[in-house]
Assembly symmetry: C2
Homo-oligomer: 204 residues x 2
Amino acid sequence: MIEYSSQLLQNAVNELARLPGIGNKTALRLALHLLQEDGSRTEALSRALLKMKNDILLCKKCHNISDNEICTICSNPRRDENILCVVEDMRDVMAIERTACFTGLYHVLGGVINPVEGISPNDLNITSLIDRLEKNEIQEVILALPATIEGDTTNFYIYRKLKDNKAKITTISKGVAIGDALEYADEITLGRSILNRTTFEIKR
Amino acid sequence: MIEYSSQLLQNAVNELARLPGIGNKTALRLALHLLQEDGSRTEALSRALLKMKNDILLCKKCHNISDNEICTICSNPRRDENILCVVEDMRDVMAIERTACFTGLYHVLGGVINPVEGISPNDLNITSLIDRLEKNEIQEVILALPATIEGDTTNFYIYRKLKDNKAKITTISKGVAIGDALEYADEITLGRSILNRTTFEIKR
């Protein structure tokens, strides 16, 4: 254990080193950087972290994190209310938003079913998803969960819950990534992409 | 620019991304980690950073950072008051303390002379070093500054200022690092280590 000449520095380093991916050396570098900087910077950082932690809300409709009761996506009148995209967490919302390929609304489950880690359907926002489909005229539900066993389990669970609803249920396509050489794709992905082949067409 | 669904999250990410070595993606990961954690963790982090920034002092004797007016090293009666080790900054104090090879006191300059970056001798704690030597019975001053042009310039400047004092002035040895194969040492280091060769002796 490194012995710092200051307990205050030690405390700051310990707290920083608790963050994921930050070890003792990086934490010390960050702490010394803050010490050398103008005092207002440390204050701005602390204030921003506390404000985020204390004031952030979850959107009452889609459960995405939000500054208001209804998030900016759900309250945007230009989004297509007929399509719901079901995702694991808010990082996936960001990832899909960056593609600029989806104009519908989201539903954030807050995880996927994972018996090993003790995450059951009741821990996820599935009841509110069913509720949303019952109360709204939704034409399509896109399941955009991770391509893992847990994601597939959750897909299947949600599919069974929703199959009596008239909404069409789809999942995002899985296959070889754009730009990838076939020889580097793993066998399962390549196999799936052959089984799920689509008709070749030239769009004019 | 990634569009976050929350301005509060955006602010926290922006502040975190200002830290050295932390980009937008890492900042987002840290912010989301704090969001998922227990609220008291974020509070502890913010409090530790602010307390460090606001309450930390510089030791009045050696200018090392400290929780009190006199740091734990300077106030330790078991340290040898006759030897002063002059270093660039507090990281060097820690590095030397980790070796457990030095039992004297330190003097932290707070930098080295660097005309390109506009750091002149007046910006460093050199006056207080001279003062310390005049007021105390110090037998040896070890110059442990970086082995760079700036370090050498500072060594030379301090040497000229102190040469009328009866304290012996030494510098740390430079040469091939312990455990290094000679073929990987750079020419200048290897050349210096040949010129500064020492008599081989077996300690009994």
